[in-house]
């Protein structure tokens, strides 16, 4: 009992400290790569500790949803467009010494990504294996030769490669009899759900106005333009500072995924304040699209309801399995971010319409769905017929807080977890049902 109280108290204290320590400025300073948000590469290094499971409880089922590992930027234009701006300016003698230096670096970054856009990087491959290695080492009871391991991916090559690398790592570490992979369009409903009616509401007029105002307040590119171009008249006529700055910032964040990391950087073009501002804009945009932003209805996380429902369904289906099972799924950053918000992990469930308040509440995209990040639900039991299943959830490797009550955090009773989430989903679905009915009726 004493131990329980101690665990609860320490969890509360730790959580409290966590809130205070959630100082984005400090975290960006400690690792500027975090400012890339969902494009931050989560290091696969052993840093997390595990709160021991209550006596006698052992992990028997792992339900794992992950982002792809590090990859090159999706579109060729992300590399080509800023390069074109610099080349043109250079041909007209409009670049400062720094500007010329940037041009040289842009060429290197561009060439490195040539014909590899959207593809997993070498670092990403190692990261995939590293993340799986950490997990196997952390939960050895759940990874045994007689276990059943099924890996799935959405139909996107970087996720597929992340999947095969991870599955190969499993095979390498303990050679289980069954390591299956599967890639199919037929599984979209729980791997990457689509719901046009819902996503159409994302960027309504009010939301866009709010975001534009927020973005305008967080934009000042004069210093950057003066540092890169020697003729501000030329800039006024030929360059869109807002877009160019965004492009350079995006490229700055992309270098961490490649072999160029540590050799060149574009972050030093920006002051810490500018970096913070860029991050704030992107973070707010992610919140609007995937978080519970009140202005567009606070419903976007429900896009992932099929994923959560599948998670619950699979959890129930695995109760009586003799040997350990793991479902290892690779989807995309958007799904993980929406799912974290829907599950209200840590502070992800935040509902607000104040975009300025996000970082005070600790809603930071790089902590939610970075590349190589994951949401892992681990199921514990004493024996096969144990009715009291406990679960804990890891968000990017760290034990996460769930929105329901528990007396043994970070462990939660499966029945409580299930009840809370199912009620939440039913509530939403009932609302949607009523809305649709009303619309249909009024149309009649």
């Amino acid at each position: 009992m004493n131990r329980k109280i101690f665990i609860v108290l320490s969890a509360i204290i730790l959580a409290g400290l966590g809130v205070k320590a959630q100082n984005v400025v400090k975290e960006l300073k400690a690792d500027v790569n975090r400012s890339a948000g969902t494009y931050y590469s989560l290091p696969a290094i052993k840093t997390e500790h595990d709160t021991p499971a209550p006596a006698g409880m052992k992990p028997f089922y792992i339900n794992h949803y992950a982002c792809p590992s590090s990859y090159y930027l999706e579109k060729g234009e992300y590399y080509n467009d800023p390069l074109a701006v610099f080349m043109k300016a250079d041909s007209l003698g409009k670049l400062t010494k720094l500007g010329k230096d940037v041009l040289r670096q842009l060429v290197i970054v561009h060439d490195d990504a040539h014909n590899r856009t959207g593809e997993l990087t070498i670092k990403g491959m190692a990261q995939s294996r590293g993340a799986m290695k950490l997990m196997v080492e952390r939960f050895p009871e759940a990874f045994t030769k007689n276990g059943y391991y099924s890996a799935r991916s959405v139909v996107q090559n970087r996720s597929i490669l992340t999947m095969v690398e991870s599955a190969a790592q499993l095979s390498k570490m303990f050679g289980p009899q069954t390591v299956g992979t599967r890639v199919s369009h037929g599984e979209q409903s729980f791997m990457n759900p689509q719901d046009k009616d819902l996503t159409d509401d994302r960027n309504d007029t009010l939301t866009m106005e709010r975001y534009k105002r927020f973005a305008a307040l967080n934009t000042d590119e004069i210093r950057l333009m003066e540092s890169l171009f020697n003729d501000q008249n030329y800039v006024t006529i030929n360059v869109d500072p807002y877009i160019l700055s965004q492009q350079l910032f995006r490229l700055a964040g992309s270098i961490q995924h490649t072999e160029l990391a540590g050799r060149i950087t574009l972050y030093d073009l920006f002051t810490p304040e500018e970096i913070h501002r860029h991050w704030r804009k992107n973070n707010a945009w992610n919140y609007i699209n995937y978080g519970a932003f009140k202005l567009n209805g606070a419903r976007q996380p429900f896009l992932q309801r099929g994923v959560l429902r599948n998670m619950i369904h699979m959890g129930d289906s695995m109760l009586k399995r003799n040997n350990p099972v793991a479902h290892i799924r690779y989807t995309n950053e958007r799904v993980i971010m929406g799912l974290a918000c829907l599950m209200e992990l840590n502070n992800c469930g935040l509902e607000t319409e104040n975009l300025d308040s996000l970082e005070h509440h600790g809603w930071a995209d790089y902590k939610i769905a970075p590349l190589g990040g994951s949401i892992v639900m681990i199921h514990y039991r004493k024996h096969k017929d144990d009715p009291n299943i406990l679960v804990k959830v890891l968000l990017n490797g760290r034990e996460a807080r769930l929105p329901m009550k528990t007396d043994c955090a970070p462990y939660y009773r499966w029945n409580d977890v299930k009840r809370y989430y199912l009620r939440k989903l039913y509530r939403y679905e009932s609302e949607r049902f009523n809305e649709t009915n009303k619309t249909t009726r009024s149309n009649e």
Partner: protein, 436 residues
């Protein structure tokens, strides 16, 4: 001649004799026999991999050890790549059903088609469980056959085209390799960067159906397409129904629909396949074999240059090998791609006489140009290299087509082994002589 050479010579003679003998035996087996044994042989590129084949491999040449393996393989069994192939007979059947023209058998056929459509929906082109299994088995046998190459710490560099079924095939193989030998040094990649040789579709050679070729093909297939017997068992009034069901198309695609199922989890359901007689399946094989010959073979009528579409792949295989020879233990290079590369590559190399040139489709069968034997799902070509040590200048190799030792049209004194120098000399000259 020292002792080693004599031994090698004698062994070569024995192998030559054995391979000649086996050729005679295999020639005694006709395409019709093969189809009777395994109906999906008739579906050419949807033929399943001959996974059960156990083949004797000739021991390594005296004093030499296998040290490097270079491979190009096709993805494993998959679903049909687009719905149009299934939609054609399905729509025809639905039309016929709506005007009450289906016999009881016809209705059962339609029901089967519905099941197949439902199973395939949203899985067009995707790898099946059977496909994964094929690659696991091929990878396992690769290690079993050549443990010297796949030794502790050996490098295995696997690359795939950017097509998901190929990446997954590569993954299945590598998962199996790690399971058998966790100490391998495996890397995987799938990138647009290697597509110029991994899946090169020559825009010029893609226009293989020239007017002359079309004329010859139409003439050849005109007598082969229809199937009155089938029409009679499926439709109440075959003559009336002809207005809405094209007999040629219907026969062709319904047969395909039946045969393709062997690649999926529904392989036990052979109802559609069983509707067809061996002779009818054989006719379809003739039609498709001729089409693949036009597309990938040295068909004189359209210029005979189709195999050259894989010149970059061959160059890369040669370049990779040459650079690997400089390493003490180069390991293996595995490439996962498509049948539209593998078949022309085999024709370009002239493996087992597949460089056969003709202008008559009628000659193909007699001369062993049977595409179904080359590129079933999971098909592969493996070059296995042998040498004494890194200083050995006379590197020997052999070619395995679908894991069976194969012949090349170049001279050798140690078949099934060939001298790498002879190979390079012959093929580089051959590709160099090709004018784009």
């Amino acid at each position: 001649m020292n002792n080693d050479k004599i031994l090698l010579f004698v062994r070569g003679l024995v192998v030559l004799f054995v391979s000649h003998f086996s050729l005679v035996v295999s020639q005694a087996q006709t395409v019709m026999d093969l189809i009777r044994e395994k109906p999906q042989y008739a579906s050419c590129n949807y033929n399943t991999y001959p996974d059960s084949i156990v083949t004797e491999l000739t021991p390594a040449p005296e004093g030499k050890k296998p040290f490097y393996l270079s491979h190009y393989g096709r993805h494993g069994s998959r679903y049909i790549s687009s719905r149009s192939g299934y939609d054609i007979p399905y729509t025809m059947m639905n039309h016929a059903d709506s005007v009450d023209e289906l016999t009881p058998t016809g209705r059962r056929v339609l029901e089967e088609m519905r099941l197949i459509m439902a199973d395939t929906e949203r899985r067009w082109g995707e790898l099946t469980n059977y496909g994964r299994k094929q690659h696991r088995n091929i990878a396992r046998r690769m290690i079993e056959h050549f443990p010297e190459i796949f030794c502790k710490g050996a490098r295995v560099k696997a690359i795939s085209t950017v097509v998901p079924r190929c990446i997954e095939s590569m993954g299945a193989a590598m998962i199996e390799m790690f399971r058998i030998n966790p100490d391998l040094d495996i890397t995987m990649d799938a990138s647009k960067r290697t597509m110029w040789y991994m899946n090169y579709q020559d825009p010029k050679l893609r226009k293989y159906m020239t007017t002359e070729a079309r004329k010859a093909y139409d003439k050849y297939t005109s007598g082969l397409l229809g199937n009155t017997r089938l029409m009679e068992i499926i439709f109440k009034n075959p003559d009336l129904v002809k207005e809405i069901v094209d007999e040629d198309y219907f026969n062709y695609y319904l047969m395909k629909m039946g045969l393709f199922q062997q690649n999926t989890d529904r392989y036990k359901d052979t109802y559609l396949q069983d509707l067809f007689l061996t002779e009818e399946l054989y006719r379809m094989w003739q039609i498709d074999n001729a089409l693949w010959y036009i597309q990938c073979g040295a068909y004189k009528v359209n210029g005979g240059k189709q195999p050259y579409s894989q010149r970059y792949l061959l160059r890369q295989i040669i370049a990779d090998a040459d650079s690997c020879f400089k390493l003490v233990s180069p390991g293996a290079q595995l490439r996962y791609g498509h049948e539209t590369c593998l078949l022309p590559l085999v024709c370009l190399l002239g493996v087992n006489g597949f460089d056969f040139e003709t202008d008559k489709f009628e000659d193909l069968e007699e001369n062993g140009w049977w595409c179904s034997s080359v590129f079933p799902m999971g098909s592969n070509i493996q070059f296995v290299f042998y040498r004494r040590d890194i200083k050995d200048q006379d590197v020997l190799f052999k070619v395995l087509l679908n894991e069976v030792e194969a012949s090349l049209p170049i001279k050798t004194d140690c078949a099934p082994y060939y001298h790498w120098k002879d190979f390079k000399d012959y093929y580089l000259k051959k590709i160099d002589a090709y004018k784009e």
